[in-house]
């Protein structure tokens, strides 16, 4: 029971910390939602351990902890996949911006030259 309390305290601190990060606008609310939901799920599992054992019984996993690992790894993989998608999109935008910037730079230099002479 002691470990449950320690974990609950840790989770609450992490949740408060992530709320603060969003408040300071260091983290976009769009991405923060995933973290809030997963942290709250962890908190529920921590406070009501019976919930997890019943759930793993239901899907036929003998050890509840295996269910935690399985779901946790799946969640991480999904998250990483989402991040690579985001990175790809950002790289595309960055490329476009770079190209526009280079063309603008060229245009400005041309205009400066034609103005000077």
């Amino acid at each position: 029971m002691k470990i449950n309390i320690i974990i609950a305290v840790c989770l609450v601190i992490v949740i408060l910390g992530s709320v603060r990060t969003v408040k300071r606008r260091d983290l976009d609310l769009k991405y923060a939602l995933t973290w809030f939901v997963s942290l709250i799920c962890m908190l529920i599992i921590d406070i009501f351990p019976g919930f997890l054992s019943r759930l793993s019984d239901l899907v036929g996993i003998d050890l509840p902890i295996n269910m935690v690992f399985f779901v946790g790894i799946c969640f991480c993989l999904l998250l990483i996949f989402g991040m690579t998608v985001t990175i790809s999109k950002q790289a595309e935008k960055e490329k476009r911006l770079t190209q526009e910037l280079a063309l603008l730079k060229k245009r400005v230099e041309q205009l400066e030259e034609s103005g000077r002479y």
Binding site: K95, T98, Q99, L101, A102, L103, K105, K106
Partner: protein, 229 residues
């Protein structure tokens, strides 16, 4: 007819002057633009010192992004024909006028300068030729058309494809993939025999180390381009 030569350049300070002078001398009806892909050497300085028409990318985009910048420029400046021309001294400017003439006469959308029609000049190493043959076979398989030199960076395109490439162009190793995309789009693609030189200075973008990655990546890109509509 406004015609543009797009010269992508990354660390080509040893070759760029020769390349540009070659075009000015042998392809007088063409304008040219050097796209400096944030070179770490003095490519930019040399171009500025010579007063070359230069687009200077503020960050490195890689060959695809660099060439695409050239197409974007060609599109905005209203060019009817654009041709890619490597800044490493491998290509010969003397073919450009003939290529443009053939483009116009046969109303082509893309004309590729191929080393492997007459098999003259620098033919690349045995392993590379083997890789190129494989791509030729793969492209024949997915499109039905034989492209003898799908990795050739010397390619001339029409206004329609200038606009298309300005909108979308593969990021890295773009040559074989873009040929497939264009063929699948239903555009008319042909090849013309050219002689290429062995690069004199600088290094190729494809080394032995990443050639396996290159083969897999480009194969996948070709297959994807074939099923993408």
């Amino acid at each position: 007819m406004k015609k543009l030569v797009i010269i992508p350049a990354y660390n080509e300070m040893g070759n760029i002057v020769k390349t540009v002078e070659d075009i000015i001398e042998h392809a007088p009806s063409f304008d040219y633009v050097v796209v400096n892909d944030c070179s770490k050497d003095d490519t930019k300085k040399i171009c500025e010192a010579h007063g070359y028409n230069l687009i200077d990318l503020p960050v490195n985009l890689g060959i695809g992004g660099g060439v695409q910048t050239g197409y974007l420029y060609a599109f905005r400046e209203g060019y009817d024909i654009a041709v890619q021309f490597d800044g490493d001294g491998q290509h010969n400017g003397s073919y450009l006028e003939d290529m443009a003439e053939k483009m116009e006469r046969e109303r082509l959308d893309m004309l590729i300068g191929s080393r492997f029609i007459e098999n003259k000049g620098f033919q690349s190493s045995f392993l590379r030729r083997l890789g190129i043959r494989y791509f030729t076979a793969l492209i024949k398989f997915v499109t039905g058309q034989k492209i003898t030199d799908p990795t050739s960076g010397m390619r001339m395109v029409s206004r329609e494809l200038i606009e298309f490439f300005a909108g979308q162009y593969p990021k890295d190793y773009p040559e074989p993939e873009s040929v497939v995309t264009v063929l699948k789009k239903g555009n008319l693609v042909k090849e013309i025999p050219v002689v290429m030189n062995e690069r004199e200075q600088g290094v190729s973008s494809i080394s032995m180390k990443n050639s396996v990655y290159y083969m897999i990546k480009v194969s996948l890109a070709i297959l994807l381009a074939a099923i993408r509509r």
